[in-house]
Amino acid sequence: MSPETQMYLAQGIHGLAYGMLLFLVASGLTLIFGMMGILNIAHGAFFMLSAYLCVTVLGATGSYWLSLLIAPLGVALLGILVERFMLRRAQASGMGHIAELLLTLGVSLVLAEAVKLTWGTEGLQVNVPSALAGLVNIAGLEYPIYRLFIIVLSLVVLALLSLVLFKTRLGTIVRAAVSDPGMVSALGVNTQIVFMLVFGLGSWMAGVAGVAAAPILTVFPGLGDQIGMDAFVVVVVGGFGSLFGALLAALFLGELNAFGIQFIPKLSPVLMFSFMALVLAFKPTGLFGERE
């Protein structure tokens, strides 16, 4: 295989890995938005917090797999608390979606600072678990196994999510509440509890992505900023509340990012925002969305 083809293949898989990671983050975000109409600005901070929790659990137990289990659950718990004790109050303030956006913005600022105070501002390193260290040969290209693991992990979480959404009673309720929360509530479902669970589930997914990303990125307080911003773009481009749209947008933006860095490094952050502006110019609801 020529070096040029290898480069394309490597960047292509890079883009796929980042796209899947991005989808993991964005699907939680879009699920919450679709159901509750809340764009959780603190979603990126949850991602970052989970990576830090991973560092701590890893330090205490030495097991990466245990931290993959525990850290996202911690973040999910935090998400549930934020929903129950803060967002619900904010929704009653009569400011509409503005209150929710500003409240979650406050949560993200507080989390970023709390992390700095707890773990310090220096970057921390997480080692790739030994079972997934090393390279694998794909058609003559040496590629790190761990990045392939990220793709697989994202697919597994996605499969679990689809199972819950499409095969369980809870999933039916959630899907119904996405299209009409008022009607579902009128049919006798306690939507408050469902909202709380969905918020926890969405936060859990950000947490899983945070732990998955920790070994390939340096863990630092600004870790969630970039991917959080990218996830907002994915949710907007894919259409608010649309999982399928988020998948397509995340994969596309992952590749756009990978090849943008390769060919026009100076302007790669611009590409993402320009694409979002372009989509909104022609379809204000996003590609597969029905609501604004």
Partner: protein
């Protein structure tokens, strides 16, 4: 005389007296307040009057600041007022250019789009260092005096002179926006906030009105940015285009009182005081911002300005109860 006129004259008299009462050294705080308040009120036109939450208002502030810095650096001898007005016009022009996109989206999509444009400008200004100086920014230009040839000439490096320059422009800007909210177009703006569809069906120009509001709000945010540039003699991406620059006026509006015209001015003052008090702990600044956002949204959605109304309601209730008790006895 009418009451508002008396209030206005009183406020202007107090503002004019401040540098002579408190001494010239404390005027810097007032200049910062003037810039912050003008910026916050311009954002408030969108937030409280049109019902649109912007996470990227630093875009206009930054364009105004960079505009002033570039004009003053490259066009020697241009009158300062012309430079400042041109910079504000540049910011208004940015609003006009973006308006075809901005008018199409509402609610959260609007917030995300403004966030994107703000970040876009931040990245562009950091990368094109030939024009903007990158992360170092632009500094060290000579600010021309505020002068009318043959009449007077004021050196703006003097604290008292920059005080009158900044506070004067801020007052003019805030008054202009106050009058704007009272015009027929201002009423259409408020109606768009309450029910855009109905306004549209009634035959008003929703798209055009919104475009005018974006230009208008952008103009005064740019004016605040230009005054900031003249005052600091330094413009950098971190100082004028960073996302925290967009959050600062949002916080002022929230703290002062969302949905009111004068709340943001009060909020800017309170935040500036808080900043002075916590100056010794710069690492806590973001934490404090976050806590303010959370606490105000949760416990005081009306902001500080609602304290007055609450106090009055409490007083009335007390008086009423006392009267009721007396009549019983």
């Amino acid at each position: 005389m009418k009451r508002p006129v008396v209030w206005l004259a009183g406020a202007l008299a107090v503002l004019a007296a401040i540098p002579f009462v408190f001494g010239p050294l404390h005027t810097n705080l007032m200049v910062r307040l003037a810039i912050e308040a003008l910026f916050a009120v311009s954002l408030n036109l969108l937030l409280s009057y049109t019902g649109l939450l912007s996470f990227g208002h630093a875009l206009y502030f930054g364009v105004g600041a960079y505009g002033a810095a570039l004009i003053l650096t490259h066009l020697q001898g241009i009158p300062i007022l012309v430079a400042v007005l041109l910079s504000a016009l540049a910011a208004a022009l940015v609003g006009l250019v973006l308006s075809p996109l901005l008018v199409r989206v509402r609610a959260t999509a609007f917030t995300m789009l403004t966030l994107a444009f703000g970040q876009l400008m931040f990245v562009l200004c950091s990368k094109f260092r030939e024009v903007t100086g990158g992360e170092d920014g632009i500094m060290g230009w000579t600010t021309p005096p505020l002068a009318l040839p043959g009449l007077f000439s004021l050196d703006l490096r003097q604290p008292v002179n920059i005080y009158f320059f900044a506070v004067g422009l801020a007052c003019l800007g805030i008054l202009a926006m106050w009058f704007f909210t009272k015009t027929p177009m201002g009423s259409v703006m408020i109606s768009i906030r309450d029910n855009q569809k109905r306004v549209d069906y009634l035959g008003y120009q929703v798209v055009l009105t919104k475009a005018v509001i974006f230009c208008f709000s952008g103009f005064f945010a740019g004016l605040a940015g230009a005054v900031y540039a003249v005052f600091n003699n330094l413009v950098s991406v971190g100082g004028v285009l960073h996302i925290m620059v967009s959050f600062q006026p949002l916080m002022a509006i929230l703290v002062g009182g969302i949905g009111t015209f004068f709340g943001p001015i009060l909020g800017s003052g309170l935040l500036l005081l808080l900043e002075e008090v916590t100056q010794a702990y710069p690492e806590l600044a973001l934490m404090i911002s976050g806590v303010i956002f959370i606490l105000v949204v949760m416990f005081l959605p009306g902001g500080a300005i609602s304290f007055g109304a609450r106090l009055r309601a409490w007083w009335r209730k007390r008086a009423y109860l006392r009267k009721a008790r007396e009549s019983e006895a």
